[in-house]
């Protein structure tokens, strides 16, 4: 069939840099929004560090969204 092209071997160099990009987005997302959440915790006296937790989850979601956008 026309669709049966042999799979293109991904370039190892760009594959490795894509991996580093993904990891640094995740670190940055969780770090930045976790920190903003922690600041809110301290400022508003939110119990149980809920702000930090929610911040980290939001940051991770943002990071995953960015990775998808940048890689596609």
């Amino acid at each position: 069939m026309a669709g049966d092209q042999p799979p293109r071997r991904p370039d190892p160099v760009s594959g490795a840099s894509a991996g580093w990009v993904a990891i640094s987005y995740l670190i940055a997302g969780i770090g930045v929004w976790g920190f903003i959440g922690w600041l809110l915790d301290e400022w508003l006296d939110i119990p149980q560090h809920l702000g930090t937790m929610v911040g980290m989850i939001i940051g991770m979601a943002g990071a995953v969204y960015l990775i998808v956008k940048r890689m596609s």
Binding site: V13, A16, S24
Partner: protein, 255 residues
């Protein structure tokens, strides 16, 4: 040294070598950096002093290092503009390889890169370089926009994404570049210390069973030394590859 005096376990203190002159401005690390710089200059000059069509072994090595930096890094990651960065990347690559391999050369035996200062300087040079080429090409505003705003994203979520992009592209990159090299060389040296000193410390106990385990520990130290050689090459490659990738990213037209 008496076997019973073998210092064990090794600690971070083992990385702070005594001063040789001028306070702590000249230590074994300083000498090794001078040695690496001098060795590279001499090697490159000698190997390319009289280039031949059929290269000698030294000329072949120099050409492969430069060819690797030019083709695999500059051309593939930066693009047609990348060629002018090939000398920098080749220098960076050979300097990191030499200083990394110092970690397993007898009597040198520790890599300067196991101190954060040396990878930090290399990372700062690369950071300033890619900021400079990015700002020169896109202008300050254009470069910041490129570095912080992902195209094709609804503007409503900019407040969520811009801090992440800013942190990733402008803060995280130099930090991870430096820390990755530093941590690998630090951990490698510590592992070699643990197995070598551990072997001698076990010999010093005089107990037959511990003696056998000490032998295994020393054999493992040799295995880890070979492994460290691979890590030295790999980390130099990763550092240069990422530096090239960041320069290419700074030069790239908007996505």
């Amino acid at each position: 040294m008496n076997l019973a005096e073998v210092p064990f376990p090794p600690s971070v203190e083992d990385f702070f070598l005594p001063s040789l002159a001028a306070g702590y401005w000249v230590t074994k690390f300083t000498l090794m950096i001078w040695l690496a710089t001098a060795a590279l200059i001499v090697f490159f000059l000698l190997a390319y002093r009289n280039p031949k069509l059929v290269p000698s072994r030294a000329q072949w090595m120099v050409e492969s290092i430069y060819g690797f930096a030019r083709d695999s890094i500059s051309r593939d990651l930066i693009g047609p503009e990348g060629r002018k960065f090939a000398p920098y990347l080749a220098t960076l690559f050979s300097f990191i390889i030499v200083t990394n391999i110092f970690g397993i050369i007898p009597f040198l035996q520790v890599s300067p890169n196991s101190h954060i200062a040396f990878p930090a300087v290399l990372a700062i040079i690369s950071y300033v370089l890619y900021l400079y080429v990015g700002i020169r090409k896109h202008g300050l505003g254009g470069y910041l926009k490129k570095a912080t705003i992902t195209p094709g994203v609804p503007w409503v979520i900019y407040p969520l994404l811009v801090p992440i992009e800013f942190f990733t592209n402008l803060v995280n990159r130099p930090l991870t570049l430096a820390v990755r090299l530093f941590a690998n060389m630090f951990a490698g040296h510590l592992i070699l210390l643990v197995f070598t000193l551990g072997g001698f410390a076990l010999f010093a106990t005089g107990n037959f069973f511990y003696f056998a385990v000490g032998g295994v520990s020393l054999i493992f130290a040799i295995v880890m030394t070979i492994f460290e050689f691979g890590i030295a090459l790999l980390q130099a490659y990763v550092f240069v590859m990422l530096a090239g990738f960041y320069i290419g990213d700074a030069l790239e037209e908007s996505h």
